[in-house]
Amino acid sequence: MTNPSSIASRVPAGRNRAGATSVGARVAWVIVVGVFVCFFALPIVWVLLAPTRSDAGIVHGAPLTFGSLDDLAATWRHLYDFQSHAIVTWVGNSALYSFSALAITLVTAVPAGYALATARFRGRVALLTATLMVMLMPNATLVLPLYLEMNALGLDGSRLSVILPLSFFPFGVYLTYIYYATTVSGDLLAAARIDGASEWMVFWRIALPLARPVVALVAFFSFVHSWNNFFLPFVMLPDSQQYPAQVGLNNLLTASPMFNASSGISEILRPELALAALLTSIPVLIVFLFSQRALVSGMTAGATKE
């Protein structure tokens, strides 16, 4: 972290020659950026601290302080006891749905994006257009007809009714397509072909290794998209044993006496809700911690070459 005095001493070196950055501008920079940092960071700090306190502590105590490990243990016990450790089941379900969908997405989307960008075949433009259309379409538009389709197939209420639609991820195809179209030179692939490599070898040995950033990117978006999806499982799955974490949270909120006076449960209060929000987000949080670089390199690889 850089302190303000070094901001003052370092920035002008490059800029002052042109007279672009005045003291006022720098102060404004620090204030504006500071406000946004608080806005983004405070809720995270809060959600990390809240489970360590009692509900009364949150309401009456000093804001944003650490409670005690005992309170954290109590919070966890309350949450774990809710519908006999439903929280664990929900997170497990989310993992199952997200990873299954991710696997199918990668196997289908990456070759498709590659072919759309590098090969010319009849129907290519139609496929590309359809991909774009569906990608830009609100997912929820399809949830109801998907439900009816699954119903007709006899799959409604099964886990597959969630996994299969989630594994259809046109955004992944689009990302891969953009990446290959803008970053990987056609000459390189052509050279390999002239050297006698088969199309499959060209893809497997040259194109795929080059696409590592975009594969990471697609995996990242697909995982997050599946993990955070609410509407689809909400509609498809009737049984709370099958709920993913997101739908489970809805259950928890409905059961909390904070928001529902008629609820018979008294243990699910603010610390428990905060802990549940945190626990159900941890997998995505971990992915986020390690994926920012992939995100940048993936998205900008396309931009730099244009």
Binding site: M1, T2, V11, A20, V32, V33, F36, F40, A41, L42, V59, P63, T108, P111, A112, A117, T118, A119, R120, F121, R122, A130, T131, L132, V134, L136, M137, P138, A140, T141, L144, P145, Y147, L148, E149, L164, P170, I178, G186, E199, N228, N229, F230, F231, F234, F259, R270, L273, A274, A277, L285, F288, L289, Q292, L295, T300, G302, A303, T304, E306
Partner: protein, 314 residues
């Protein structure tokens, strides 16, 4: 499949010597393998993209016994008093959300670009991290944070005139609240992406502008932002697509609003009500089709205007 021609094949065709050697095999091969590569995805696209859309269209023009009723479902749904208000809600929310996204994300990305590398990286990371809480978690967190009784920024909320949780989740505040939640979870990754796109602008261009006497603001307005146009359009399209399908936020807030927020606040909720409460799948499909047409229209306009998908073929 034979005559479409890759760029290489076209180059080959203009040079007789090469044409004699291989181009035919390559063209055909390229086509067939192309089909193989897209096969898996195409099946998914048909099953979970095309078929449901077609099915929704079909349902929207038929009745429950499968007879064509023309636009009957649409006129019926339009006449529902909940329809207009649901779209008004979502329209207001989308306006707030897209404007704040466009103005604040671009401003922040430009401000963070080219300064203090480490501070900037840290700030970007902090902005981006809340994305991990997208969905139900973020709603849950903000429901508590916006409750003046328990919020760490309670005094600020009271200063704005919000004294109780019930007052905060009053229906007229919802577009603002959803914008805050969406910005908290969604803006960060766009800041990161915009920042990356700014890196894609060649240094010489920026340097040339500086030599010509452009200040930071001038450079941003005249060079950086115009060059980000494509990315901004891309962001707005995806934000629109995401925003129009608002469901989990009003659903959860509705649960926690002490009965103030109806469970048909957004069009998707209304569609859900039609389908699963009234068992009227045709009416639900009609709403889904309206949403679909709306978002596709906007997307097409943005794609066309920004020339988003013209590049990258060569």
């Amino acid at each position: 499949m034979v005559a479409t021609g890759t760029p290489q094949a076209r180059v080959g065709a203009s040079r007789p010597g090469i044409r004699a050697a291989k181009p035919r095999r390559r063209r055909v091969g390229s086509g067939r393998v192309g089909y193989l590569f897209v096969a898996g995805y195409t099946i998914l696209l048909l099953l979970f993209g095309v078929v449901p859309v077609a099915y929704a269209l079909w349902l929207s023009v038929t009745n429950s016994s499968g007879q064509l009723v023309g636009l009957g479902n649409f006129t019926r749904v339009f006449a529902d008093y909940r329809f207009g208000s649901a779209f008004a809600h979502i329209g207001l929310y989308l306006t707030l959300w897209l404007i704040s996204l466009m103005v604040l994300v671009v401003t922040l990305a430009v401000m963070l670009h080219g300064r203090l590398k480490r501070t900037s990286a840290l700030v970007r990371f902090v902005c981006y991290l809340p994305g991990a809480f997208a969905g139900a978690s973020s709603v849950l967190i903000w429901l508590i944070l916006l409750d003046p009784v328990a919020s760490p920024v309670g005094p600020v909320l009271r200063a704005v005139g919000w004294r109780s949780a019930a007052q905060v989740v009053a229906p007229e505040n919802l577009p603002v609240i959803f914008t805050i939640i969406a910005f908290w979870t969604g803006a960060g990754s766009w800041i990161v992406i915009m920042y990356g796109a700014l890196n894609g602008i060649p240094d010489e261009v920026i340097e040339a502008a500086r030599i010509d006497g452009a200040g930071a603001v001038q450079t941003a307005l005249r060079i950086q932002i115009p060059m980000l146009r494509k990315w901004i359009a891309y962001m707005l399209i995806l934000a629109f697509a995401g925003g129009a399908q608002l469901f989990v936020e009003p659903q959860l807030v509705g649960t926690a609003s002490f009965g103030q927020v109806p469970d048909d606040w957004s069009p998707n909720q209304l569609s859900y009500q039609y389908a699963f409460v009234a068992a009227d799948f045709n009416g639900a499909a009609a709403i889904a089709v309206v949403l679909l047409v709306l978002s596709l229209g906007c997307a097409a306009a943005a794609v066309f205007k920004a020339g988003l998908f013209e590049r990258g073929h060569s």
